[in-house]
Amino acid sequence: MREYLLGNAAIARGLLEAGVGLVAGYPGTPSSEIIETVASIKNNMPAHVEWSVNEKVALEVAAGASWTGRRAAATMKHVGLNVAADPFMTLAYLGVGAGLVVICADDPYCHSSQNEQDSRRYAQFAGIPCLDPKNPQEAKEMTVFAFELSEKFNIPVMLRPTTRVSHAREDVEIGSVAAPGKQGRFIKDPARRVALPSHARPLHSELLAKQAAMEEALESAPWNRLELHGDVGIIASGIAGLYAEEAALELDEDLSLLCIGSYPLPKKLIRRMLEHVSKVMVIEELEPVVEEQVQMIAREINPHVNILGKAQSIPREGELDYLQVRNAIARMIERPEREALQCPAVSILPPRPPSLCAGCSHRATHYAMRKVFGKKAIYPSDIGCYTMAVDMGTVDTCLCMGASITLASGIRFGGEEEGICCSLGDSTFLHGGMTGLLNAAYNKARITVTILDNSTTAMTGHQPHPGTGMTATGEKTTMVSIEALAKALGAGLVETVDPYRLDETMKSFQRAKDYPGLSVIIARQPCVIKARRSGLRPKSFLVGEECIGCKICLDFGCPAIEFENDKARINALCSGCGVCAAICSSSAIREVAK
């Protein structure tokens, strides 16, 4: 049976077909829908599925289940692997019990990320196999295969979809779901579970010794496909293989083609290609992982073969597209290029950047923050919807999850004397902000930390977290108090405000500004998207005749406020937060009875 599936849903399907016993992860575009899909398939759910507090936690939980004899997977986006890098590197030494798969979704072009690092490098660094699917069907098949490979070589395996695989849709052949197997048991084996130096040294040797056997096993994997034709060849990895195949067909050219989907690389296939051709182009997104190997093999067996790649034809940044690949191939075989169409009239269009929603409480909090701390204050911020408040002048930094607090501390210790008010979301605080807050308290950082608590992980699609009292599967659980956490971590002043009450919020920020130590403001108001879905629209507002056209409300930047005939107007996007009424200079914005 075939089904039209999102890449991430295909991966979720693969997990279930592999009989996975545990799935853990932290949301991050483009990986989030894997756990959401697994959690939504109620009847076939694995023994345990969770949103973990962060990626490090997720991978460790998955490793624990693997060591207890359950197939386990951890899901994350590429930058999440940086957080999980500590267990990731050493798990390669210690190995697995049942299969352990790290699903790490890369984002070439930074569609929704702060960088475009190439996780194939991470797999190479750790010395573990990496499977690099080109489409949803392959992603599903590789997911099942990854568990078998992991068990065969006693090693974690990385599955590395990119945005164009995770967020592609395709008709995918569906198999049957497997049961997660019998209840697990942890078997004590200190030499393989306790990374003491005396244990780690022989395990490192073992890891290195496995490499050749893993390479041999992957050589014949179905996603490495060699077709020898003419004496000009293409070696392409992941989705680039699809672009190359399509281009060869469109150009109607008899090119030799090697498509690659697994690492360590199939060196024998690369050798056969290099022996056959006089010229070859290596096409891959981001880093020259394949190209470097091809160069090395060529030096051994055929130094005269002309290898084209990153230096000549294929960019090392951004994502590839069909025309780019087609034209690189066309240039190589001296055929005409096809130019991308231009439509010059596009310049008349207004830009449409993504923005905070109408009624988003983050806008109100940032507005109050700026009013109190002023233009000269420093505003380190973090990763979430609220990073879009950069236009409000209250986002001076965005580095990685939780770095707002630590950067703020460093900026203070570096000598900055202006006010410092940093901001991060509730989920980001719980993910990576708590240690930074503890450090700020311990080392006496005089800063204000604003926790923008919309009671969800909004940007990635509203996943629950420990502050919501709900698990990934919708079960009720302990609801962690952010106030109690902030106090326990050592903050001197902790206040909670409703950002829709502008006056009180500003007073609270003023107290924080005046406080001679570490202060925390928790600005709590549910995400407006979630509130709308649950039917909450508390109030309606309109702009009366008194409007003097001062544009103060317009500067607030809410998409529900328009300007027409020298007066402000409230449109249908209004969610009824009422903040604009509080900032109106002529009291022209008022609530209307429904």
């Binding site: 483009p30 439509c343 269009l349 207004p350 406020i561 449109n571």
Partner: protein
Amino acid sequence: MRTSECDLVIVGVGGQGVILISDVIGRAAVMAGKPVCGAETHGMAQRGGSVINHTRIGCRFSPMVASGGADVLVALEPAEALRFAQFLSPTGVALVNTRPVLPSTVTSGKVEYPPLQEILAPLRAHSRKVFAMDATALAGIAGSAQAMNVVMLGALAGHIPLSEDLILQALSLVVPPRFLEANKKAFALGKAEVE
């Protein structure tokens, strides 16, 4: 040589229901036994930003339509039609909802939204045919303003190699039963616009 039977680019603003159109087409293609693939926008870009969906019917290659490769451009918003016009083949057809959604750059008075004719004229010059319709109004007539995307699906149905029966069957799988009648009306109104 053609590498796909029919390439579509579906564009609009986050929240307008671009993905639903592609989902219905994908499901209908699977029912028809045709290979089908597509690519969509998730994450940060969805928050009120421009969204683009690629859908390729009868295609086994990448999910992305190349510049100048789309047989049909479906735009749920007029400015977005022009923004993504470079994907449309000069022999292709554009289906455009004429009801603007003003971006924050316009509502805040920073820039102006161009008159509809200034958007449609270059689009007409760029393609074989442009069908412009107030799909938002038609959806209202059908009984659900939310069904604007289904009006556009109705307009699209005759331009793709899938039978209307299969498309309606797929539609009934993705629309909640209580809205199905309004959606079927919306589909019929869209279809009538291009006949």
